[in-house]
């Protein structure tokens, strides 16, 4: 029962969807405050290498080392995001240019590769610690639901809590309301006494932290270890950015989209192993194709309806221009 293609693909969808979920929640927070950050791929890779470094260097109980590693990944992602925040919020640089620069700077051929090489990491170094699956309440063998819901790593359960918290924060709290105001109409928010610069900084940094944790999902859970170059996360950062659009800037839809896209990244191998013949290029391209299709449908068919994009997304806020 639990060996059927459907169950395996759904379980993998959760596994591969988790980094997408973390990264897209982070991007969602940044974008809701009006800052587009295309540096997700770079922040993820840097978080991945730092998280792996902590597990290799710190001795101690497995759980505490892993928690420390996740914290370090988050902090390093946030540190990378701080560069973007300073450039785009304080210096009001173009957000697209700065984000792309961040991906190149921190990414597979940049800082993360440099750090990994300096520390002597390579794929033939076994990971000392990794997030294994937690058999929740002994339900891992439950038909169908067992492998999908109850036999995942702690990161998966953490991502559910994160999605819930981000959703509640944006939809139900005053701070969340303020964030949305900053992203929709920063001038009005400013007039209301909301500190636009502070809000944007905080959310870009938290967004970077989420991206760092998303990177650690790869180096500590999906394929524990480190390899320089851009194959470790293989474009997941870009999918996460597409996912935010796909999810209409809503946390709960990020969860759905992440698992949908996660299933697509697991599908080529699961199908091939069962002798089902589908062109792999087609499956690799699907997340992007789906994002484009959704964009087209929503922006043409219902052109008058609000897509959900924060109105001030991508526009630097200048107080004098009122």
């Amino acid at each position: 029962m639990n060996d059927t293609l459907l169950v395996i693909v759904l379980a993998d969808a959760v596994l591969y969807g988790t980094p997408l979920l973390f990264a897209s929640l982070g991007e969602l927070l940044a974008e809701r405050s009006g800052v587009l950050n295309l540096g997700v791929e770079g922040m993820m890779l840097f978080g991945a290498v730092v998280g792996f470094w902590v597990t290799q260097r710190v001795e101690g109980a497995s759980a505490s080392v892993l928690v420390l590693a996740i914290l370090a990944s988050g902090l390093s992602g946030a540190a990378m995001a701080a560069i973007h925040a300073f450039l785009t919020i304080t210096l009001r640089a173009n957000q697209i240019v700065s984000g792309l620069a961040l991906t190149i700077f921190a990414g597979g051929l940049g800082l993360s590769a440099y750090v990994g090489t300096e520390l002597g990491f390579s794929p033939d170094i076994p990971a000392k610690q990794h997030f294994g699956s937690v058999d929740v309440l002994g339900l891992a063998d439950l038909p169908v639901l067992g492998p999908i819901v109850f036999d995942q790593s702690a990161l998966v359960y953490a991502s559910w809590i994160a999605a819930l918290l981000v959703g509640l924060y944006l939809g139900r709290t005053r701070f969340g309301l303020n964030v949305r105001a900053v992203g929709e109409a920063p001038a009005s928010a400013d007039a209301m006494g909301i500190n636009v610069t502070l809000y944007r900084y905080v959310h870009v940094l938290i967004g970077g932290g989420f991206a760092g944790v998303a990177g650690a999902c790869y180096s500590l859970s999906i394929s524990p270890g480190w390899i320089a170059g851009d194959t470790l996360i293989g474009g997941a950062g870009w999918i996460a950015i597409a996912l935010v659009i796909f999810a209409f800037w809503r946390a709960e839809l990020c969860l759905v989209g992440a698992y949908l896209f996660g299933a697509l990244s697991a599908l080529p191998f699961a199908l091939q192993a069962r002798n089902v013949d589908v062109a792999p290029e087609f499956l690799y391209a699907l997340p992007y194709v789906m994002t484009i299709v959704v964009l087209v449908i929503v922006s043409t068919g219902l052109s008058k309806r609000h897509l959900g994009a924060p109105a001030a997304l991508g526009i630097p806020y200048v107080r004098e221009e009122r």
Partner: protein, 372 residues
């Protein structure tokens, strides 16, 4: 007055710098090192293919010391990047360039590089384009992969055996066939299930491929891809694993069986020496176990004494020229006779054009070719 003084100082600095440069280059030309560059498809420390080549590069440095200067360009996963890389190496005065992947000096416009840089010695691994300043080299991986397949076959109970493969090209196809034939030597009727990652180097894809194969019921894993990522999965799931390119025992100490490995160093040292003393000639080199070019890595704990003896005997027969992996009768997947009894496939062109999967293989040849 002050301005004049600054200007004078500036000119003085320039003159000193010019002198230093002139002096430096004069001193250098006396014993200018021979400059050798390597282009790797993955990271130099990928734990597999590129790492094995990098060990060869270090062998050059060890053997020739200050008479050579070496460098490498890593992560050149697409042949399209190669002309640019070669141009920059040429600018930096490199005398000899080893391209460590299929197509680097052969596919498309890359096939013209030897003409554009007639003073550079080109050497390409795994290709076939021999020109007046371009050589080709590789090793008879099929021999050692066959031996590693024997270890996989012996470790398999019901099978099938999973084999993770990169691209649908003749090199990979003949390696997969050799692996299957080796497995059938110790486990009659053994079947091998192919899973294509369509990438030379990808830790997540190789991990996903290993997991998918295990979920689909394989009881031993083997691979022709470049990193030992599948080994980590195998160790975790308790599935015996055959690696490739490099000794990667430490990634899966319990499940490691062995791996076909390449020792590029001796060839590299020989070729660099030949280029330095003017005896370099273009050619097609195909290293063997006998040359010390190919071998199998030390065994893991799961390989029985009986299997070790069987492999040792076969290795001896290969070295003595009494056994060839691709001697008929050999049948393809559909049961069609591909190599008649008594006939042996030649390296060129047969092995370099192989496009059929042997009987017992599960899967089809991937339509995806390496990026060019």
């Amino acid at each position: 007055m002050r301005r004049k003084f600054v200007l004078g100082g500036f000119l003085l600095v320039l003159a000193v710098a010019a002198l230093a440069l002139a002096g430096g280059s004069a001193a250098r030309s006396e014993q200018e090192p021979f400059k050798v560059a390597f282009i790797y498809p993955g990271p130099h420390d990928d734990g597999g293919w590129s790492q094995a080549h990098d060990k060869g590069r270090l062998a050059i440095e060890n053997a020739l010391g200050s008479k050579v200067e070496t460098t490498y360009k890593e992560n050149i996963f697409s042949s399209a990047q190669v002309p640019q890389v070669v141009a920059s190496l040429a600018r930096d005065g490199y005398d000899m360039i080893f391209g460590c992947s299929f197509g680097f000096f052969e596919l498309g416009v890359n096939g013209q590089l030897y003409k554009k840089y007639p003073d550079i010695y080109f050497e390409q691994a795994t290709g076939t384009q021999v020109k007046k300043n371009q050589s080709e080299y590789f090793g008879a991986g099929e021999d050692t992969i066959y031996l590693s397949g024997m270890a996989a076959g012996a470790a398999s109970k019901k099978g099938p055996i999973g084999y993770i493969v990169p691209f649908g090209i003749p090199e990979v196809i003949r390696h997969a066939n050799a692996f299957l034939l080796g497995a059938q030597a110790t486990h009659p009727g053994a079947r091998v299930k192919l899973l294509w990652t369509n990438a030379w180097v990808s830790v997540p894809k190789e991990t996903a491929a290993a997991k998918s194969l295990i979920a689909a019921g394989v009881d031993v894993l083997g691979q022709n891809v470049d990193t030992p990522a599948a080994g980590a999965v195998a160790e975790d799931k308790g599935i015996p694993w055959v690696g490739y390119d490099s000794d990667a025992r430490k990634i899966a100490p319990k499940q490691w069986l062995t791996a076909a490995t390449y020792n590029w160093g001796p060839y590299y040292v020989k070729r660099v020496k030949a280029a330095m003393n003017g005896t370099w000639k273009p050619g097609f080199y195909y290293g063997t176990i006998k040359d010390g070019f190919t071998d199998i890595a030390p065994y893991g704990p799961k390989v029985s004494a009986k299997t070790k003896a069987a492999i040792a005997a076969k290795k001896k027969a290969i070295v003595a020229g009494k056994f060839n992996v691709f001697t008929g009768p050999l049948y393809d997947q559909a049961g069609k006779l591909r190599v008649p009894k008594g006939k042996t496939l030649k390296v060129l062109p047969d092995l370099y054009e192989m496009d059929w999967l042997a009987k017992g293989m599960i899967g089809k040849v991937s339509t995806v070719k390496p990026p060019s």
